[in-house]
Symmetry: C2
Subunit: 456 residues, 2 copies
């Protein structure tokens, strides 16, 4: 007999995953190795341990171990805000008059407002375990910086965040959340690093860029004894930590005997999508099950749908290792009209490889459509979603409407990565009818592809 499905499926504490899952271990063809930016040769563990702390460098390179124990202290931290609920969107289904069953895994119920915290605590933990004093990072809108500040405060680790200057000035709320958690937040470009001083001198009055902030954070880490640089997306280690999302989702579905037909996630650097789909993609590569997996990206930053699959720099500053991935070129910058996140030029190498092998499809959507879906979702499901997450909502709604037309009772699962409480400037633009769409021309992309490095 089937159990009645509640609005929210919570796992019991003892049902929470005790291991992360590394989908690369089960892939027959593995993602290509990352390259040292100086030599363009596969990077070694020792080389990588100069940038990341040792255990994280190991995780970054390990493509053979399928399950990795989650340390006790990280599980304790997870228990403060996890398990996150898998919610049956009964009200949305009713509104859409669809026979489909819609579920969403909601990662926004923590102060960082998104899934980023899942990897922040892991990265901070390994830094602490190695006896480091602190970590440095960059942040744009501030989501990742907030998550890292929270994790560092919990572990009493020093946290230095280089925040893109225009965000630092225009988003004082995020900045103050980080400061409340004890982080040192520096507007970038600053006068504290060589690269910052240089940029300030060359471009007086500049309001900064993510690329510049990364360069400053890396310089700050390398220049201080006992510090390492950490990064919140794209990396293999981040996907590993984020697998907690997919593992919990799968456990919750299994608990009620629900078989997902379709799994939808928004895709920027790929950390959320990769984490959500990991255990499902794992079943697929092992030949145990089949799902329709859809990555949703902004039409204004279409790395999967219009990018090329090639080695590229992960950062505009070209200081981080190179990765083979679907990319628009590290010099690509989305149009100024682009409102939400998901503005990364490339895509996690694991997600890229799974996509290249045909385990998932990709779709790009216009931002006005995305905000329409967001506003509808907010009204019927009561959660104001992040613009990023709303890309997944858009496609989930489209698919549910298709089910209404075909009469199919599909189980649609999507990732609701976070809340939009700090994105009200974009919502205001939408509410005022001032939001526009932008799609880069082929010419623009061609120009951007020209920045790709020659690796062969």
């Amino acid at each position: 007999m089937k159990k009645e499905i509640p609005y929210k499926i919570y796992l019991e504490e003892q049902e929470m995953p005790r291991q992360w899952y590394n989908v690369r271990a089960d892939m027959k063809k593995k993602p290509a190795p990352i390259l040292d930016p100086r030599t363009l040769k596969p990077i070694t563990l020792d080389e990588l341990s100069g940038i990341f702390c040792r255990e994280l460098a190991k995780q970054e390179l390990d493509d053979t171990t399928a399950y990795i124990d989650i340390p006790h202290d990280i599980r304790s931290f997870y228990k403060m805000y996890r398990p996150s609920p898998l919610t049956r969107a009964y009200c949305l289904e009713k509104k859409l008059d669809t026979p489909a069953h819609i579920y969403y895994k909601f990662e926004g119920n923590n102060t960082s407002g998104s899934h980023k915290l899942n990897s922040a605590i892991a990265q901070a933990y390994y830094a602490k375990a190695q006896g480091l004093k602190g970590v440095t990072t960059e942040t744009g809108a501030g989501q990742w910086g907030t998550a890292l500040s929270m994790a560092c405060a919990y572990l009493e680790l020093d946290c230095q965040v280089y925040m893109v200057k225009c965000s630092y000035e225009q988003k004082p709320f995020r900045r103050e959340v980080m400061r409340t958690y004890g982080a040192k937040v520096t507007p970038s470009p600053s006068m504290e690093t060589e690269v910052g001083r240089k940029i300030n001198q060359e471009f007086p009055g500049t309001t900064g860029s993510l690329g510049c902030a990364i360069s400053e954070a890396v310089e700050a880490a390398l220049g201080q004894e006992g510090y390492r640089y950490v990064l919140g997306s794209v990396l293999n280690q981040v996907l590993l930590h984020q697998s907690i999302i997919g593992l919990e989702t799968k456990a919750a579905l299994d608990k009620y005997g629900i078989k997902a037909d379709m799994i939808i996630g928004c895709a920027g650097g790929g950390s959320n999508l990769g984490g959500l789909i990991s255990p499902f993609a794992g079943q697929m590569v092992r030949g145990e099950a089949d799902y329709e997996i859809i990555a949703v990206e902004p039409a204004s930053c279409p790395s999967l749908t219009r990018g090329v699959y090639a080695y590229d720099y992960c950062d505009t500053g070209k200081v981080c290792p190179l990765s083979k991935m679907y990319t628009l070129g590290s010099g690509f910058i989305p149009s100024a009209s682009h409102a939400g996140g998901l503005r990364y030029h490339g895509m996690s190498s694991t997600v890229s490889e799974l996509y290249d092998q045909g385990y998932l499809t990709a779709r790009s959507v216009d931002q006005t459509q995305v905000f329409e879906a967001a506003a509808m979702f907010a009204k019927v499901e009561g959660i104001l979603p992040a613009p990023e997450s709303s890309h997944a909502i858009r496609v989930a709604i489209d698919e549910a409407i298709r089910c209404r037309e075909t009469g199919q009772e599909k189980n649609i699962v999507f990732g609701l990565t976070g809340t939009g409480y700090f994105d009200m400037v974009a919502y205001q633009r939408f509410n005022d009818g001032n939001m526009t769409d932008y799609v880069p021309t082929d010419e623009e992309l061609k120009k951007s592809f020209a920045s790709l490095p020659k690796t062969e």
Copy 2:
């Protein structure tokens, strides 16, 4: 054998309360009746039904029915964001090195960011059920306005919010959240009401006040066919709806065989405190159990600890019914240095009467102490609390430290009413070391008491 207590206790959906609890029904001496502001005589159901919709007016006056069924549609809405977790603050206990067990009922995991939604959906539901077109209300910082907007969006009811002009301009995020939910948000004083036009004419350039916004909202409701005015705190009906907090808390404690020794809540108008303590106070008035209940208020707005117990106006505009309550006088305005909410001059008549009968004690705390507690809590428990909620955190921490000194293993339960994501201006003041404390002098209070009406 005792079950191990998880970090978060969630009720199963079928364990959620199906009735609200009305503590007045069990009180031997009832709270005094509310009075018509024109006649200063007890108000009748018919009179009250002109301001509130019929069912809510009934609930307002009913002091004999102990349990009232929660309509199915409201329970459905509750299921989208409830049950809220009762969290064991393991990390805070460890940090404080206390033998006490600390639990908090967290009401912030919804887009309104607080418990206000519990009553907003109920008030909107009864308005809809009566066939009304819409509701009007006022909002200061925007918490209540957001909650009401969400409830009205869900029920497709028109929602008109008069927002104090300085908040409207300085807090555009809250305003945009409301607009996203389809509410019409008008800066108050506006040119749309008679009272608004009059105030604008008398005080050109005024940035408004809550009293003025209430008057505009009431005028707007009375002037439109099919509209009623709604209010988010103080009222008996609000306490009734908020009893869901206490009922869930009690059910979660009972599930694990935990007996609370101490229950702590912040107190502004009393809606959260009253809701949290209702079932526990009910046991006390029935002589079934004993608890130490503590109301915590700001030293800068000390209605319970320094107010008088008398009939007073609920609003500065003197258009709402009068209530017998602990009050500082309806003309009382906290010092400009006061940062958090809890700035209401009076206290729910039910909470006031329970306090007068000795079922709870009250404590006032300085805001710098409150923000110190908030920052510590954020760092160890991972949730950035609302300044209001942090009043309860302060006293919970103080009591847990006392337990460390005495060695007592008390079970301390407090209400964490919401998150502080929209209160970062106050946090910034604290982070920068610019926060000051203020305690009104006896002279100031004496002056304020002079505004009390003569009712006998």
